[in-house]
């Protein structure tokens, strides 16, 4: 049943057959035949961004808020190199993306042709896999393989480089079922003996904790359901990384809050003091572990991960379980139930008593002010006023990102999109565009810092063009706040290039694009201003002028263990030793 068509037509056909509804892209010479095909159809919507980096972040936002792969189309040379930051971001956060790039014709490759770049060479270390397609006959099957690789196992970005002559030439179209996907079949079922050992440990543990991550969300809705069931049934406390927020509801009584460098006191102390740590789809990142040698010294550790290389990479575990989170949790629940649903009641009661004592420290309390808006206060109000909404949050990178993670509560997965692994300033705004496209009726807010936001501000054009009512909630401290905080704590208060000078007038900037601008500096006006933003039917830039020198706490200084957490201004003197100063 193979049909003959041009490579360019094949690209569009393959995307349709993969169920793609939206692609984010930017045209150029090496992808003109594909753009010509896009022009001649109406099934797939193309969103013209203003910079290829933004196309990739928008696709990430789309992917993370839907669970479907994001699709990007860029031209050769500069189009492809502009996509590199987004690819790296998606790789580190395990986001499924299929990026198609144009390439100079095969007969010109290697000649330093106009807009030629060694795209597969450049993107090899920042994709899960990539392909240069040299024959039109193999184009469709390669695209199908690309979707398969991007979405199975540990998800990630793939790139398919398509020379222009391959787009023009005729070839045989391969439909998805005929494409060879046997080449990549990661294992999803966990070792049942090891799962049973973990269940035995869960029955005995006095101080257990679930430490969950983005893997739960990547695994899909079943994983979230099973996790919630397991937590409720066992009564174990649960914390999560930045990437995993929403898998367990923030309103749940077993929820300890986020852990890690800027995580909650009770979450980090529970990690430090537990006797059984159950890592579900997280990767013992250095923002989580602090000093590895002192990480949770008294616990036996289980690690559930679909990627074998995550296991024993930084932290040695006694119970490694390689498999998909949903599959493994299902087996865990089944085994645990069949063995009589046992837990160490006495131990757990004491453990919760201890945790509740830690909770009384109230580590997120802050000194409110009548004169200036505290960034924490701004987020607390945003939370209060948007809680009931069908709400999606993206963020940029910096203090505001950590405050957003601390002060906003997530009840469901796929509602929180932030650049975790790479920490990419400029991620949040385009990501919010991708989210809004997938959820046109929902309230989509990008919690931003003024410096990060400027990195992809050109996307205002995209928001306006496609009538995407994204809300840009900028906590404007006129500082590269997170950098400033480190300089204060680590570099003798020498604030080298960490302030934002010559900032635009954000209200006028919004208006120049045809959007709405709101500025707020008085705490008394804040609620009304936030309501105005929410109720406005269109994109809004909200310039929230906040306290300029606020620091983000709690904080575990680099190179310190969890129990050396700083809670507030008073405890920061000489907190970071020399060994910590070399870390980032």
């Amino acid at each position: 049943m193979s049909k003959t068509m041009t490579g360019a037509k094949m690209v569009v056909q393959a995307l349709k057959d993969q169920g793609v509804e939206v692609i984010f892209g930017y045209p150029g010479g090496a992808v003109l035949p594909i753009y010509d095909e896009i022009f001649q159809q109406n099934e797939i919507r193309h969103i013209l961004v203003r910079h290829e980096q933004a196309a990739v972040h928008a696709a990430e936002g789309y992917a993370r808020s839907t669970g479907k792969p994001g699709v990007v189309l860029v031209t050769s040379g500069p189009g492809a190199t502009n996509a590199v930051t987004g690819l790296t971001d998606a790789l580190l956060d395990s986001i499924p993306l299929v990026v198609l790039s144009g390439q100079v014709p095969t007969f010109m490759i290697g000649n330093d042709a106009f807009q030629e770049a060694d795209t597969v060479g450049i993107t090899r270390p920042c994709t899960k896999h990539n392909w240069l397609v040299k024959e039109t006959d193999r184009l469709a099957s390669t695209i199908h393989q690309g979707f398969h690789v991007a979405t199975s196992g540990r998800p990630g970005p793939v790139l398919i480089d398509i020379p222009k002559d391959v787009q023009f030439a005729n070839g045989h179209y391969t439909a998805p079922p005929q494409a060879d996907t046997k080449m990549y079949q990661p294992r999803v079922k966990g070792d049942i003996e090891m799962i049973t050992r973990l269940v035995e440990a869960m029955e005995l543990a006095e101080r257990p904790v679930f430490y969950t991550g983005g893997g739960v969300i990547n695994s899909g809705p079943a994983a979230t359901q099973l996790l919630r069931e397991l937590v409720e049934a066992t009564g174990f406390p649960i914390t999560s990384t930045l990437m995993g927020l929403g898998a367990y509801p923030a309103s749940g009584d077993k929820w300890l809050g986020m852990l890690g460098m800027h995580g909650l006191y009770e979450a980090n102390l529970a990690m430090h003091g537990c006797d059984l740590m159950i890592n579900v789809g997280a990767r013992f990142d250095d923002r989580i572990t602090g000093r590895v040698a002192d990480f949770s010294p008294k616990s036996a550790k289980a690690h559930i991960d679909i990627d074998p290389s995550s296991i024993n990479k930084t932290i040695q575990v006694e119970m490694p379980i390689i498999g998909d989170v949903a599959h493994v949790l299902e087996d865990m629940l089944r085994v645990w139930k069949s063995r009589g649903r046992k837990v160490n009641k006495e131990g757990l009661t004491k453990w919760w008593k201890q945790i509740n004592e830690w909770r009384t420290v109230d580590c997120l309390s802050f000194k409110p002010s009548e004169k200036t808006i505290k960034p924490q206060h701004a987020l607390a109000r945003l939370e209060e006023l948007t809680k009931g909404h069908d709400r999606y949050i993206t963020t940029e990178v910096g203090q505001h990102q950590m405050w957003a993670a601390q002060y906003l509560g997530f009840e469901d997965p796929n509602r929180w999109m932030t650049s975790g692994g790479l920490g990419t300033m400029g991620y949040g705004f385009p990501a919010s565009i991708g989210v809004q496209l997938a959820h046109p009726e929902s309230l989509v807010i990008n919690v931003a810092g003024e410096a990060s936001w400027l990195m992809n501000m050109q996307e205002m054009g995209t928001a306006i063009q496609y009538r995407l009512p994204v809300k840009q909630f900028i906590l404007n401290n006129e500082r590269l706040g997170m950098v400033r905080q480190w300089q204060e704590l680590l570099h003798g208060e020498r604030y080298s290039h960490s302030w934002s000078e010559a900032l635009p007038d954000f209200v006028k900037l919004a208006e120049a694009f045809g959007a709405k601008g709101i500025q707020c500096s008085d705490p008394a006006d804040l609620d009304d201003a936030i309501m105005e933003m929410i109720n406005y039917d269109g994109p809004v830039i909200f310039d929230c002028l906040v306290e300029k020198h606020e620091n983000c706490f709690p904080m575990i200084p680099s190179g310190e263990p969890h129990n050396k957490m700083l809670l507030g201004e008073a405890s920061t003197k000489d907190a970071i030793g020399n060994s910590g100063a070399v870390l980032v």
Partner: protein
């Protein structure tokens, strides 16, 4: 500790063979990696080693299954047991990598290297070079009145030993293939 009786760092039943997890002993391991013979696959493997700071002591690659388009890459690498485990796991993530075998831990194996030596000299030195070559079972594959090219297959140690002997006898150039290795038995 607690009611849990799990020995620290032991994962007897794991997918991993954790010899002393905190051991800092540096070991040499010979890895055999079966890959699709496609463009860029060697760059992926080498890029992994350079990008993550692993060592390559020796590397050989050639197609071994023409029909199946499979190549075999043999890498000798060095590291602590934990690092070696990481290397194997990271190799396993590469999509066109089909199999990763650690020949050093998977039972007995044979390792061979081929080397060519150009030795120049006259008189006694030339005769001595030829005599040693015979003892080492090196073949003469080229000769002129002032030079020999010897060919020798053996373990890397044997090749090193032969090179040491040839150096004072006029060794001027040498080429080695790197190690090829197979497990013993069926």
């Amino acid at each position: 500790m607690s009611a849990l009786k799990i020995k620290k760092g032991s994962s007897r039943k794991s997918a991993y063979d954790l010899r002393d997890p905190n051991g800092e002993v540096i070991e040499n391991h010979t890895l055999a990696i079966l890959v699709d013979n496609e463009a860029g696959v060697l760059a992926r493997v080498i890029g992994l080693f350079s990008g993550r700071g692993y060592n390559i002591e020796s590397l050989t690659v050639a197609e071994v299954d023409h029909e199946g388009h499979l190549s075999r890459i043999t890498i000798v690498t060095r590291g602590t047991p934990a690092v070696i485990e990481q290397i194997k796991a990271q190799l396993g993530r590469i999509v066109p990598v089909h199999e990763v075998h650690d020949l050093t831990v998977e039972g007995p194996s044979v390792e061979r290297e081929l080397a060519l030596f150009k030795v120049t000299g006259q008189g006694d030195k030339r005769i001595e070079a030829l005599r040693l070559a015979e003892i080492f079972r090196a073949n003469v594959v080229d000769s002129t009145l002032e030079s020999f090219v010897f060919e020798m297959t053996g373990t890397s140690e044997k090749i090193d030993a032969f090179a040491d002997l040839m150096r004072p006898l006029g060794l001027i150039e040498m080429a080695r293939t790197g190690i090829a290795a197979l497990s013993r038995g069926a």
